[in-house]
């Protein structure tokens, strides 16, 4: 029972909290850059404004363009329900292991890239091709690095991996975990379109990846995409936290109080990581696009070494 409650809770927390996370990150950046900032609720205010506008689709676009935003948001919500963030005992855990999660995330990305191609504009196509380049390196890295972690547990279920870590927290201090953690951190940054791979607040079309794909969206569709992107960021950060620092996460049978503690722990962890990420972005410049594959190839290598190490040092 507590598993179902926990799963519902984490979907709610992610759905409501992820725009706030984006707000926190923007606020941190603003403060560090010496600006006052718009406040952490600004993303929600943006979303509200966008939702009230009329839905407009560019001339000549088809169903692919219209289907992408709901699909992106839908996959993000399903992933939020499956991944162990508040509880390791999600009722969906059995059907959705690490491969399913990766596939769901990829599905959202691919839908958006197809939609960008559907518009037929130059920037849409450019963004889509870049996104695919990044995706091609990111997906295997996520798979391989979580696989490295799963070898120790003997299961690809994310819930079991996190449970094993909860039971033996010191096992995180091993080369396998360290290498996988670094690899996952890098791909999380790439997947969510943050500096140094992509710049979420850029207005220079030539350097865009994610933003170039959503240029043609407006109104509620854009709101949906922005919201989904924020959820993907929160889910990936939350997953990172659960895998390597599963403090406070609930097990199969816990009371309401424990669930509350778990929620608070999740919020604190993700907020902290988001703030850290934002602070890092202030001090870093975006990589030139042709250096990005280098970074991602590096993270793939680390993931592969993590797998190798889990065999070497068994």
């Amino acid at each position: 029972m507590s598993g179902v409650v926990g799963a519902v809770l984490q979907v709610i927390v992610i759905a409501v909290g992820s725009p706030l996370l984006v707000g926190v990150m923007r606020q941190v950046r603003a403060r560090l850059e010496g600006r006052a900032g718009a406040g952490i609720a600004q993303p929600w205010r943006d979303l509200r404004k966008l939702m009230r506008k009329e839905a407009i689709a560019p001339h000549g676009t088809g169903w692919v363009f219209r289907a992408a935003p709901p699909l992106l948001a839908g996959t993000a919500l399903v992933v939020a329900a499956v991944v162990p963030l508040v509880t390791t005992a999600s009722p969906l855990d059995g059907v959705a292991d690490l491969f399913a999660v990766t596939a769901l995330l990829a599905l959202g990305s691919v839908a958006l890239a197809l939609a960008a191609l559907d518009t037929g504009t130059a920037f849409g196509g450019m963004g889509a091709s870049r996104e695919m380049t990044v995706l091609a390196l990111v997906e295997p890295t996520i798979l391989v690095s979580i696989f490295a972690l799963s070898i120790r547990v003997g299961s690809t279920s994310l819930g079991s991996i996190v449970t094993a870590t909860v039971e033996d927290p010191l096992s995180v201090i091993s080369p396998v975990s360290v290498l996988a953690a670094v690899a996952l951190a890098i791909v999380t940054i790439a997947e969510t379109g943050r500096i140094p791979v992509d710049n979420p607040s850029t207005h220079l079309e030539l350097t865009m990846i994610h933003e170039a794909m959503v240029l043609e969206y407006a109104g509620p569709d854009l709101a949906l995409i922005e919201w989904a992107s924020a959820m993907r960021l929160s889910v990936l950060l939350g997953l990172l936290a659960s895998l390597f620092f599963p403090l406070g996460i609930s097990g199969a049978s816990t009371g309401a109080l424990a669930l509350l503690v778990s929620v608070i722990a999740l919020v604190v962890k993700v907020t902290l990581m988001g703030a850290l990420l934002a602070a890092g972005e202030v001090f870093m410049a975006k990589l030139r696009l042709f250096r990005v594959p280098e970074l991602l190839a590096g993270s793939f290598l680390l993931a592969l070494l993590a797998v190798a190490a889990s065999f070497f040092l068994a």
Binding site: L170, S171, I173, S174, P175, V176, V178, L179, V182, P293, E294, A297, G298, F300, L301, L302, L304, L305, A308, A309, F311, F312, L313, A314
Partner: protein
């Protein structure tokens, strides 16, 4: 050393030191700034020291710990210091054009790791302890060092490649047998130090003769 260490903790610390050792080796391949490469080399020296000290504490062998401290002083202290001085004197910041680009060399490193794993199987089979099981890590760093040596075009990066190989050999020695006899260990360290000094002097001469340390300039002698 009367450090009480449980089996699990020993294995964990050992693996962690090996992981750091490997990670610094891989990052050398990744970074282009020569100063960063020197830093990474120093960090690898620290990881190697930690490795030896962990082994020494586990075997309660004071001599081993002292040797570890000596190795650390040389590889994490003196050698990086010498290289940094050469770097400051030279004023060349970056590896410009490696023969193999960085993304490809990272993929090659993955292949090298597999190769090292295959090569070290007979070694692990002879005595499968936690320490010998980490030998593939050392051999991976050896191969990466060789790869850096072959593909990088700056005198200093070649030097770091050579030293990575040497670190890896030292790590192998300590992981398999807790090191070679002390006389030999001293000789090796001295030779290593001298080799670095010799190469440093040659770098200076190269700069005087060629106006840089780009090794592509070295092509006057051929058949």
């Amino acid at each position: 050393m009367g450090v009480n260490m449980t089996d699990a903790m020993y294995v964990q610390l050992l693996d962690l030191a090996c992981g750091a050792f490997l990670l610094t080796g891989v990052l050398v391949l990744w970074r282009r700034e020569l100063s960063a490469i020197v830093w990474l080399f120093a960090l690898q020296g620290v990881a190697l020291t930690a490795l030896i000290v962990v082994l020494g504490s586990w075997q309660a062998d004071l001599e081993l710990i002292l040797v570890g401290a000596g190795v650390g002083a040389l590889r994490a202290g003196l050698l990086p210091y010498l290289m940094r001085r050469a770097l400051v004197a030279g004023g060349e910041g970056r590896e410009t054009q490696p023969l193999v680009n960085v993304a490809t060399s990272l993929v090659v490193a993955a292949v090298l790791a597999m190769l090292a794993y295959a090569l070290s199987q007979p070694l692990v089979r002879l005595s499968p302890t936690p320490a010998t099981q980490a030998v593939p890590v050392a051999l991976t760093v050896l191969l990466i060092g060789f790869f850096v040596l072959v593909t990088r075009r700056r005198a200093l990066s070649q030097l770091v490649g050579f030293l990575l190989m040497d670190n890896a050999i030292t790590a192998t020695a300590f992981l398999t047998t807790s090191g070679v006899p002390l006389v030999v260990e001293l000789g090796i360290s001295l030779d290593l130090l001298l080799a670095v000094l010799v190469l440093q002097v040659l770098t200076t001469r190269m700069r005087a003769a060629f106006g840089g340390t780009d090794l592509d300039e070295l092509r006057e002698l051929h058949d």
